[in-house]
C-alpha cells in the first residue's frame, strides 16, 4: 500500500508543532477523460498530525469536499400564463460548482456550526455563491434549492454523511465517486478537521480533470479551428450518406 508508506514518511518527517494538523493525499491527482470514460473513484486519505496527545473531548471529525469548476447558472421557473406553462421568472446564480461532493464522519450539522460553515463554504448551500437578487432576496432561495435538487438528482451534488472512516482518531480515508458527465477543469479537494463543531485545521489540493487523446483532439479542433471542424463534420456526413447508399446498391445487386 503505497499511500500508507507515504503517510508514515509524512508523519515521521514533519517537525512537531502545537495543535492538530491534517496531512493528506489522493489516489490520483489527475483524471483523464477518454472516449470510454465511465466515471472515476478517487481515494482521499490522510492522517492527523499532533504534537500532544489527542484531547478526549470533544470528538474529532473529518469533512472531505470535492468541488468542480464554478460557473454561472441561470435557473428558470415555469409558471401558468394564459393557460400554458411558460418560463417566467429567472434567477442568475453567479457561481455554482459543476460538481460537489461532501463526505463526513458524522451528520454534517452535528460536526459543523453555521458560522464555521459560512466562513469555509462547506455545505452545498454555502458553496453556491452570491445569488443575483433579480427576483428579490427572499425570492431567490427557492431557485438555489431547485438548483441543488436538480443537480443532486443528476448525481452531480452528493452529500454522503458518515462515509469517512476515521481510525484511532488519526488515520482517515474515503472514496469520492466522480460521475461520467464531468466538466473539464481543476477539482478542488478540501479536508477539514473539526472538534466541537469548529474547524481546527484545513487542507486543500487539486485534482486535474482533462480530456485526453481523441476527446482532446476533437475538442481543441472545435474551439481553435471551428470552420475546419464544421467542414470536416459535413464531409463525414456526406461521405457516410454516399457510402451507405453505394453499399446498399451493391447489396441489392
Amino acid at each position: 500500500m503505497a499511500w500508507r508508506w507515504l503517510l508514515l514518511c509524512l508523519l515521521i518527517a514533519t517537525p512537531l508543532r502545537a495543535g492538530e494538523e491534517v496531512v493528506a493525499g489522493l489516489s490520483q491527482a489527475r483524471v483523464s477523460i477518454t472516449t470510454d470514460f465511465k466515471g472515476s473513484e478517487i481515494l482521499v486519505f490522510g492522517a492527523v498530525k499532533r504534537s500532544a496527545p489527542a484531547p478526549a473531548d470533544p470528538p474529532l471529525h473529518v469533512i472531505v469536499t470535492v468541488a468542480g469548476p464554478t460557473l454561472p447558472v441561470t435557473v428558470r421557473k415555469k409558471d401558468l400564463r394564459f393557460g400554458i406553462w411558460v418560463n417566467a421568472e429567472a434567477v442568475e446564480v453567479d457561481a455554482a460548482p459543476s460538481f460537489y461532493a461532501i463526505s463526513t464522519t458524522a451528520p454534517l450539522d452535528e460536526i459543523l456550526s453555521q458560522t464555521e460553515d459560512l466562513r469555509h463554504h462547506i455545505s452545498i448551500g454555502k458553496a453556491i455563491r452570491a445569488v443575483d437578487t433579480g427576483a428579490g432576496a427572499d425570492g431567490a432561495a427557492p431557485f438555489t434549492e431547485a438548483l441543488i435538487r436538480i443537480r443532486t438528482a443528476d448525481g452531480l451534488y452528493q452529500i454522503r454523511e458518515s462515509t469517512v472512516t476515521l481510525s484511532e482518531d488519526t488515520l482517515f480515508r474515503t472514496g469520492i465517486a466522480l460521475p461520467a458527465n464531468l466538466t473539464e477543469g481543476d477539482y478542488t479537494t478540501r479536508i477539514f478537521l473539526t472538534r466541537g463543531r469548529a474547524v481546527i485545521d484545513a487542507y486543500e489540493t487539486r485534482i486535474g480533470v482533462q480530456k485526453v487523446g481523441l476527446e482532446r483532439w476533437i475538442y481543441n479542433l472545435a474551439q481553435v479551428r471551428p470552420l475546419i471542424y464544421g467542414l470536416l463534420s459535413l464531409a463525414i456526413a456526406i461521405a457516410a450518406g454516399w457510402g451507405a447508399s453505394t453499399v446498399f446498391r451493391y447489396i441489392r445487386g
Binding site: P72, V73, V75, A222, P226, G230, S233, A240, W242, G243
Partner: protein, 306 residues
C-alpha cells in the same frame, strides 16, 4: 457501451444513439422529412445539452438526407429544377429567419415562440393532411378511380412560368420561391430542416406528385441543414463529432431501409402515416405546455456567455 461525448461533455449509451439515428433515418427515407423535429427533442430527453442537440442534429440530417436522396436520384424521383428554385427561396428565408430569431431572443421568451410554432404548424399541417388523405383513400376505394388533379387556381395565373418536367408542372416560379422562403424562415426559427412543412406545401400548394416531392424535399434540406451545421460550428462551437458519427451510422442505414419501405406504400397511406407522426409530436409538445411539469425549475448556461 458508454461513450463520452467531447463537446456535449456527457457519457451516453452508444447503441441507444445508433438506434435513435436509425429510427430517424427510416422516417427520413420514407417521408422526405429530415427528422429534425424528432431527433432534437429525443436528444434533449437523453440529457444532451439543447445547443449541442440542435447543432449535431443538423449534421446528422445532412447524412441521412444524402443517403435518401441518392436512392431517389437513381429512381429519378427528384425534380432538380424545382429543388433549385425552392433552395433559392429557402436561403433568403433562412437569412430572414435568423435575423428574426435573434431579434426575438433579445425580447426573451424565444423558447416559448419555438414551442408555439411547433404546436401550431405541426397541428394544422398534420390535421389537414390526415383529413385530405383519409378522404382521398376512401374515395379511391369506393369508386376505384384515381382522384382528380388539383384545380387550376391563382397559382397558374402568375407570370414567369417555367416547365418543371419531373413534376409534370408548368407554373410560375413565384409560388415555389415563396414556399421556399417561408420554409426557410420557419426552419431557422424552429431549428429544423423544414421538410415536414415543405412536403405538404409542395403537395397542396404547388400540386406536385407525391413521389417527386420526397426526393425534391431531401435535395433542399441537405443544403439548408449543411449551412446550419457550419453556422453552429463557427458561432456556438456546439457540433459534437462523436455524437454526429454515431447518429449518422444509424441514420444512413435507416434512410436506405426507409426509402425501400416508401416505395412499397401507396401515396395516400404514406401521407396518413406522416400525418399521424406529425400529430403525435404536436400532441406531445402541446401536453408539455398544458400540463404542470413535475419540475418547475430548469437550469441553463447564462445567455450570451460561452
Amino acid at each position: 457501451m458508454q461513450v463520452y461525448l467531447p463537446i456535449a461533455e456527457v457519457s451516453v449509451n452508444a447503441f441507444l444513439l445508433l438506434g435513435l439515428g436509425g429510427l430517424v433515418g427510416i422516417l427520413s427515407g420514407m417521408f422526405g422529412v429530415g427528422g429534425g423535429f424528432l431527433i432534437t427533442p429525443l436528444l434533449f430527453f437523453m440529457g444532451i445539452p439543447p445547443a449541442v442537440a440542435v447543432a449535431t442534429g443538423a449534421n446528422q440530417i445532412v447524412a441521412s438526407s444524402i443517403s435518401g436522396l441518392m436512392a431517389h436520384l437513381r429512381r429519378k424521383t427528384v425534380d432538380l429544377r424545382m429543388g433549385a428554385v425552392l433552395l433559392a427561396g429557402g436561403l433568403v428565408g433562412a437569412a430572414l429567419g435568423v435575423a428574426a430569431f435573434n431579434f426575438l431572443k433579445q425580447l426573451g421568451q424565444v423558447d416559448l415562440l419555438v414551442q408555439l410554432c411547433y404546436v401550431l404548424f405541426l397541428g394544422v399541417i398534420g390535421w389537414l393532411m390526415l383529413v385530405e388523405s383519409v378522404i382521398a383513400l376512401r374515395r379511391a376505394r369506393r369508386q376505384g378511380v384515381v382522384p382528380k388533379r388539383r384545380q387550376r387556381g391563382w397559382v397558374h395565373a402568375l407570370p414567369l412560368k417555367v416547365k418543371f418536367r419531373s413534376s409534370g408542372l408548368y407554373i410560375s416560379v413565384i409560388p415555389p420561391l415563396l414556399v421556399g422562403a417561408a420554409v426557410g424562415v420557419l426552419a431557422a426559427v424552429m431549428g429544423v430542416g423544414g421538410g415536414f412543412i415543405m412536403v405538404p406545401a409542395m403537395i397542396y400548394l404547388l400540386g406536385m406528385p407525391t413521389k417527386v416531392v420526397v426526393g425534391t424535399s431531401l435535395f433542399q434540406i441537405i443544403f439548408v441543414t449543411g449551412f446550419t451545421t457550419l453556422l453552429h460550428a463557427t458561432t456556438n462551437y456546439s457540433v459534437d463529432m462523436v455524437l454526429a458519427v454515431l447518429l449518422i451510422v444509424g441514420g444512413v442505414v435507416g434512410a436506405q431501409i426507409g426509402t425501400r419501405i416508401g416505395v412499397k406504400l401507396k401515396a395516400e397511406q404514406l401521407r396518413i402515416l406522416l400525418a399521424a407522426l406529425v400529430l403525435a409530436v404536436c400532441g406531445k409538445l402541446a401536453l408539455d405546455l398544458l400540463l404542470q411539469p413535475a419540475e418547475l425549475y430548469s437550469l441553463a448556461a447564462p445567455a450570451g456567455g460561452h
